[in-house]
């Protein structure tokens, strides 16, 4: 018998950069799914009303003094979750592409104790996800490399729709990749002997803002992430100890 979601202190980490049009709806939808979720919006140096919209809706707002990039922003959220003793954290983008009604799918394996990190994948099942050819090729390459490194089939390495338990929160609070973090975070988790599971979810088209990865940057992105994975294979990783539940 899996434990109930309501048994846990739970928090939604919402990284947002100039998402004033969508962040309010994301917060409302998370509340509509489960009003027991605390919400922390990490404003990564927005120049619009992102932080104001989020604060008006009663979310915790962490305003970074300048843009740290998605990795630094998300880690800020995990640090908040760790310091405040949360048991479960979910990561949902502030641009509206992640549908909070899909939360049960990524939470279930974590609640059932089957996974420490559960990633929602666009590709393994329902959800007609469309993207450019080049992007699809890039995603395929990463899926192949990551699957080989973690010895487990992974289809969507760039998904930022994730759920973690306390072990995952502790790991990410202490160490999270910079720049383009999702691929590396997935690999890092497995290296630290955390259990990874990927489940199919439906995702929406982005509601506003612009993707953080433009065509020009994708070559740099691929090189940097592949280098990080390669070098990471030669690092030693500590296995985090299990904390007592509070």
């Amino acid at each position: 018998m899996a434990e109930q979601l309501s048994d846990f202190q739970r928090i939604a980490i919402v990284p947002a950069l100039n998402e004033e049009e969508t962040v309010g709806r994301v917060i409302d939808e998370i509340r509509a799914f489960d009003s027991g979720f605390d919400i922390v919006v990490v404003d990564d140096g927005s120049v619009d009303r992102t932080a104001g919209v989020a604060a008006d809706r009663g979310a915790h707002v962490l305003r970074l003094p300048f843009n740290l990039g998605i990795g630094g922003a998300v880690q800020t959220g995990y640090r908040f979750a760790f310091e405040h003793g949360y048991d479960i954290a979910v990561q949902i983008d502030g641009d509206g592409q992640h549908d909070p009604s899909q939360l049960p799918k990524i939470l279930e394996p974590v609640l059932a104790g089957e996974a420490d990190l559960c990633v929602g994948s666009r590709f393994t099942g329902d959800g007609a996800y469309r993207s450019s050819f080049a992007r699809r090729v890039g995603i395929k390459i990463f899926a192949g490399v990551v699957s080989a490194v973690v010895r487990q089939k992974v289809t969507d390495t760039t998904s930022g729709f994730r759920a973690v338990n306390r072990r995952g929160i502790a790991l990410f609070a202490a160490d999270y990749p910079h720049d383009y973090p999702e691929v590396e975070a997935t690999v890092m988790c497995v290296k630290h002997k955390l259990r990874l599971k990927e489940v199919p979810v439906a995702m929406r088209e982005r509601g506003g803002g612009a993707s953080s990865i433009t065509a020009v940057r994708s070559v740099y992105y691929m090189t940097k992430v592949l280098l990080a994975i390669f070098v990471g294979m030669f690092r030693r990783y500590a296995v985090p100890f299990e904390e007592e539940r509070r």
Binding site: P65, H178, D179, K224, L227, V231
Partner: protein, 115 residues
Amino acid sequence: MTPLPVSIAAAVASFLLLVVVFELIRSRRLRERYALLWLLTGVVLLALSLWRDGLNTIAGWFGVETYPPAILGAVGALFILLVLLHYSTVISRLSDQNTILAQRLALLEQQLREG
């Protein structure tokens, strides 16, 4: 033609550069984003040292007939220039961010004292 000892010395030196950069990343003293230019430098210099005919051809393009390894030095200098320029932009960004942090800290302290 490039003297063989020069090619060997250049290849060893660029290989060492690659090894040092790799170890710095592995031990987390150098972030990947700041290592990429160094790695590119090492790879290009290693390629030019090992591919001796190529170095001669390139030297020919630039009218360097007498001593092709001069091209190695020129390419190395060019990359060092690139790395330095890159670091200048990085330092500028860091110094801007440092200013913002100091200002925010001053505002916070003022709030704590008077709040």
